[in-house]
Symmetry: C2
Subunit: 271 residues, 2 copies
């Protein structure tokens, strides 16, 4: 069993029956702008889905697609979840996060039991090459960004500080870094679809001050070993303000454990 921590406390959902759940969005996972981080909001939908999947014995969110409909706010929320299909090895379901009569996030996900996966494995690519975490630097060098609390929950260590953190965007929208929960909770498959969104977008290196995620899909590829996670992030296409961001997470044994892609929009007046 994975260790527990604030991520578990802050993504608890209380079943109300009939696929409905109550929850409270904490202010401990706020991103730029002071609102709950998108990855944190979607974690609520994954919690509800995980509850639906528990009797089916399918603990791992294999593929998770979330649409971000409105800005989340700290405070009370409701979840509405329902199964689409239960198969032999997987099941698919949908969960919606609602606040004050508005739908905030809609997630569809297929769950599986990755311990039961029996198929070929081929090493076609290699994990990111990074100096050990103890030789790396904290992302912001301890500087506080007003209202951004997620930096106290998720620690990021990089070989060198990104240009944007020093007011000098490098023009290269990619990054390699280590990541972990600051409270020592190890990442599990339930946390990975949130962790792929836990860092500032790499378009900050293009001078963007912010970016709004429209859709984010994560494929969870394996159960992570305990310890630091090595991350590789890149934006490859910026077209008319829309940009992709691909995020890979590799565990401490050098195994790919999650890969995500998001489509996001930079405000037209940005950068």
């Amino acid at each position: 069993m994975a260790s527990t921590g604030l991520f578990d406390t802050d993504t608890l959902v209380t079943p109300l029956g009939d696929g409905r759940y109550s929850a409270t969005l904490s202010d401990r996972w706020n991103a730029l702008g002071g609102a709950p981080n998108g990855g944190y909001s979607l974690a609520m939908t994954v919690s509800a889905l995980a509850h639906l999947m528990r009797p089916l014995g399918l603990p791992d969110p294999l593929t998770v697609s979330s649409f971000f409909l409105r800005r989340a706010a700290t405070g009370a929320a409701e979840l509405r979840a329902s199964i689409a299909r239960v198969g032999k090895r997987t099941a698919t379901a949908e969960a919606q996060l609602w606040q004050g009569g508005d739908e905030i996030v809609r997630t569809t996900a297929t769950f599986a039991d990755l311990a039961q996966a029996r198929g070929r494995t081929l090493a076609l690519t290699a994990p990111p090459v990074l100096p050990p975490p103890e030789d790396c630097l904290e992302l912001t060098g301890g500087r506080r960004l007003p209202g951004v609390t997620i930096v106290d929950r998720v620690e990021i260590r990089c070989p060198e500080r990104p240009g944007w953190t020093q007011g000098k965007p490098s023009g290269n929208p990619s990054a390699l870094f280590w990541m972990r929960f600051t409270d020592g909770r190890d990442a599990d498959t339930r946390a990975l679809p949130s962790l792929v969104d836990a860092c500032a977008p790499v378009v900050m290196e293009l001078g963007a001050r912010t970016s709004s995620t429209i859709e984010l899909t994560t494929h969870v590829r394996a159960r992570p070993a305990p310890g630091w996670l090595a991350c590789r992030v890149v934006t490859r296409h910026v077209i008319a303000g829309y940009h992709d961001e691909d995020f890979e997470i590799w565990d401490s044994t050098g195994q790919l454990v999650a890969q995500s892609r998001q489509l996001a929009l930079m405000p037209p007046d940005d950068a």
Copy 2:
């Protein structure tokens, strides 16, 4: 306005009111195994969504995520579609394809008007380098695969024939090729989320005989210019039978028009 062809005829949906549509899956888009191609099945959901979006003036499926729940069959189908949110520049909706009381495909999509997109464009990558289509070879060299009708609808031309088409998988799960509808219909943004799934999976080069898509997300990045489409496909991670497949489509002017990623499963006894 884009040209029309069999793709339009075969993805027609008839509104029944209240977000319901009737449709018929043709046998003209069958993939390996003789069932309707996944990209074709999802085109039905995109048709229903496009109908919902018409009064909103949002013609372009910006981001489309489909979960493949059951195998589709030729014949009658019903669609159920509903709006999740209408915003200023985008709207998000969901559509389900049902056959005989079973849900087959569930698609969530955000639509936009790409002609109105006003933001930065940065050229960070380059289109695939391919000899002109007239110097390339038809994928199967005119050989017929039993029951596979989609090869008569979508033409694929490659610099050299993939090893798997000659019984000699190369071991390299990637490909570059040209693609177009055989009947001369030009691709538009509505066709792109289907075209990213119109070719045999590149894991055929690993000896796989088949692969089942679990989830497929397409981001449509621009309206394609008329003419041939240049495609770049790669599978990067094969883990316990699950594999990704990234598919890019570039238009005849060298513009990226769509990028997709799917998670799929090779049968355990395969390859």
